[in-house]
């Protein structure tokens, strides 16, 4: 019997990850509340199960897709690869049906309820969404799909979700109601969030890249430098923000021109400084690692053939170190997007403002209005920088 068949025959399930995710999604959807209906913004609502929330055709389609995914994880008849390709079609469809179903339910439920009534998403919704997303990631890994194809696929799926937004599918949901209440503030804080991240990453790169090179060139400087940067990293973010308040407000008081620039104990200045301090270690560490990873023989050949030190740096060291340096930037960007949330505590603004406002008012949908876009931002930044890392790899080693 050919080896391929013997291998396929022995196992029932070819893709255990998909199987696990599917079981989790189905169990989660059935056991956990899918949505919650509340009479007003501040009380927690009554749970609604998935089967009750979705219309019959939606339930049927979802059931069908779950069956398809169930077959896709088996060793026969599709097998691992065709199964993964099937999952890449079924999983996003399931995702879109769940999203549409939730919006549709909210619209129907609120049609004859009081204006203050709210519908928000429940745990089953999140479980279903995350399981679908992970199914797609898993399928891509199994198929070793090139990054450009993943990008196109992600754009198509994202396009579907954006289309749902544009069609007003989610307008009845509580989180969107919160959004409509503060539409202008949301846009402003979203921009503030990005600006804070940018203002932290720019200087962190300007300082961190040369420091990383220094750490590579001067082994003696390495110990103290990493010692200090590691120390920054160990300070909890809230503590660091708080620690910066006093010196900065003193500074702002002492130097009025600084105060005019917006430097004071609270607000953007301490937030940016703290973010820079947190960003330095990964940037310096990865820059150092990138340069240290260039083979000594390559460098000996470069200078042995008559390249000047500057030529060696720009033509050989930087191109070869770049992928590792950009991986550091990727870590730092995702980290900064997350940490900026905390910066809202000292009045720096950003999406964290909604989270803390929502926590204060016990308005969980407002919290989500801050949290979900932050997560989306981090995921998108991560993905884009992953593309950059791949592109920066030397053609010979890609």
């Amino acid at each position: 019997m050919p080896a391929v068949f013997r291998h396929a025959d022995r196992r029932l399930v070819a893709n255990r990850v998909l199987a696990t995710l599917l079981v989790a999604a189905v169990a989660g959807s059935l056991l956990l509340p899918f949505a919650a209906m509340a009479p007003n913004r501040l009380v927690s609502g009554e749970s609604v199960a998935l089967v009750a929330a979705l219309s019959p055709w939606q339930t049927l389609v979802l059931l069908g897709l779950a069956l398809v995914l169930g077959v896709a994880c088996l060793a026969r008849p599709l097998g691992e690869h065709r199964g993964a390709r099937t999952a890449l079609i079924a999983a996003p469809l399931a995702l879109l049906v769940v999203l549409y179903g939730l919006g549709d339910y909210a619209t129907r439920a609120l049609a004859d309820a009081s204006p203050a009534a709210r519908v928000s998403q429940g745990a089953a919704f999140w479980v279903a969404v995350f399981c679908c997303a992970l199914m797609m990631v898993d399928a891509f890994q199994r198929l070793r799909t090139p990054l450009w194809l993943c990008s196109i696929y992600a754009l198509v799926v994202l396009g579907g979700i954006v289309a749902l937004f544009a069609a007003g599918t989610f307008d009845a949901l509580a989180i969107m109601q919160e959004y409509f209440n503060i539409e202008d503030a949301f846009a402003a804080q979203f921009v503030t969030h990005l600006v804070l991240v940018g203002l932290a990453l720019g200087p962190a790169l300007v300082v961190g890249l040369p420091l990383g090179l220094l750490a590579h060139r001067r082994p003696g400087a390495r110990g103290p430098l990493f010692g200090v940067l590691n120390f920054f990293q160990t300070i909890p973010s809230i503590a660091l923000f708080a620690l910066l308040v006093t010196p900065l407000s003193r500074l702002g008081d002492a130097l009025p021109w600084l105060r005019e620039w917006g430097v004071s104990g609270i607000g953007a200045a301490p937030a940016i400084i703290a973010l820079i301090m947190y960003s330095l270690l990964p940037i310096v560490r990865n820059t150092h690692a990138g340069f240290a990873g260039v083979a000594p023989a390559t460098l000996e050949a470069a200078s042995g053939m008559g390249m000047t030190a500057t030529q060696v740096l720009w033509r050989v060291e930087i191109p070869l170190a770049l992928p590792v340096i950009l991986s550091g930037l990727r870590i730092v960007t995702v980290q900064a997007i997350g940490l900026t949330v905390v910066a809202a505590l000292i009045g720096a603004g950003g999406l964290g403002a909604f989270i803390f406002q929502g926590l204060g008012q016990y308005a969980i949908d407002l919290v989500l209005l801050g949290a979900v876009p932050t997560i989306a931002l981090a995921v998108v930044a991560d993905f884009l920088l992953q593309i950059l890392v791949t592109v920066s790899r030397p053609a010979g080693a890609r």
């Binding site: 083979a295 023989a297 390559t298 460098l299 000996e300 050949a301 470069a302 200078s303 042995g304 053939m305 008559g306 390249m307 000047t308 030529q311 050989v316 191109p319 070869l320 030397p394 053609a395 010979g396 080693a397």
Partner: protein
């Protein structure tokens, strides 16, 4: 021409290269050899100023290299190392073009040069120009490394154990290519190795170093026959000294006239060759083993023949392998022009 005068390198009060003076003439293949850690690489890297010298002088032609900018000097000297150090982010063509580009050659000249060098090393330009280093075998990568060192037609080529990391078979091939390339280009070469057979095969002059000192600098044959001291003779290795010597001797130095008729006059067993109409040897009568049938007739085969330019070591090896006491020596067209025999080898000073 390259000349070292009283060259010394001191690390922490220890002379790792000590007062070395030697001169490698233009077009010569000079080999630095010695045990590991004796200062070969240090010496080589002082020549292209990758390491500053402590005392002494190095002349390139009639210029003192300390008067040149290091980069200018290095662009005039090819450099190939054991670990090759090809640039992994560049194609083979880009790697070879490094120094010509630093020297700002026009593009057309660089392109022509790349093809010429790939051709010199028997690498098909169409196939290899656009390959990346990680797509090459060890032997191919080392060829590209040497091609890159030769790219800007340097006056001198420095090579630091370039074939040390490749398998023995590939090393043999690369050594043969190196010999051919040297014959073709007549570059002045300074070649570092710790392998005596490699040195004997390639060198026109060998410098033996020990603990930072130059022990002997001579042509290979003199090194073998007149070792300066016990260290040199130990280093060369007494075990197969006779064979090493024969590797520097050629068949034409041992060649005798070949008899083509039986020697009827003398009564003792002898051998003679049978040839065809064009003069090629076809059969040997007698001459196999001393105790064999003197009249036995053996067909000449393609392998048990010798050519005048063949190293005597190889001729001897063939005699042993085919169990014959004598080999026909043939010229390029295959005609019998003489013979070499075991008696001949034994009867002459190596």
């Amino acid at each position: 021409m390259i000349e070292l005068q009283g060259l010394t390198k001191t690390y922490d009060d220890k002379d790792v290269v000590q007062d070395i003076s030697l001169r490698i003439e233009s077009g010569e293949f000079g080999v630095l050899i010695g045990p590991s850690g004796c200062g070969k690489s240090t010496t080589l890297r002082m020549i292209n100023r990758l390491i500053p010298l402590t005392r002494g002088r190095i002349l390139l032609g009639d210029e003192d290299i300390s008067h040149l900018k290091p980069e200018t000097l290095r662009r005039r000297i090819g450099y190939a190392i054991q670990s090759i150090g090809l640039f992994p982010h560049w194609t083979v063509a880009d790697n070879i073009a490094v120094v010509p580009r630093l020297l700002k050659w026009p593009k057309s000249r660089i392109d022509a040069r790349i093809d010429e060098l790939l051709d010199l090393f028997h690498l098909a330009a169409g196939e290899f120009r656009d390959k990346y280093p990680h797509q090459l075998s060890g032997g191919q990568a080392q060829r590209v490394g040497v091609a890159r060192a030769l790219a800007a037609d340097p006056e001198v080529l420095l090579m630091d154990e370039p074939f040390g990391a490749v398998d023995p078979l590939t090393r043999e091939v690369l050594q043969n290519e190196m010999r051919r390339v040297h014959e073709r280009t007549r570059k002045t070469i300074v070649f570092v190795t710790h392998d005596m057979d490699e040195a004997l095969k390639l060198a026109s002059r060998i410098a033996i170093l020990n603990a930072g000192r130059l022990v002997q600098y001579d042509r290979p044959i003199e090194l073998l026959t007149q070792p300066a001291d016990a260290f040199v003779s130990d280093f060369i290795g007494k075990a197969d000294l006779g064979l090493k010597l024969l590797s520097r001797r050629w068949v034409n130095q041992y060649q005798d006239r070949a008899r083509t008729t039986p020697d009827a006059a003398s009564g003792r067993p002898s051998h003679y060759w049978e040839t065809d109409a064009t003069g090629r040897p076809t059969c040997l009568h007698g001459g196999r083993l001393s105790d064999g049938d003197p009249e036995a007739r053996t067909a000449v085969n393609d392998e048990w023949i010798a050519t005048p330019g063949m190293p005597m070591k190889e001729a001897l090896s063939r005699m042993v392998w085919y169990r014959v006491m004598v080999l026909p020596v043939i010229d390029e067209s295959g005609r019998l022009i003489g013979e070499v025999s075991m008696d001949g080898v034994m009867g002459r000073q190596p």
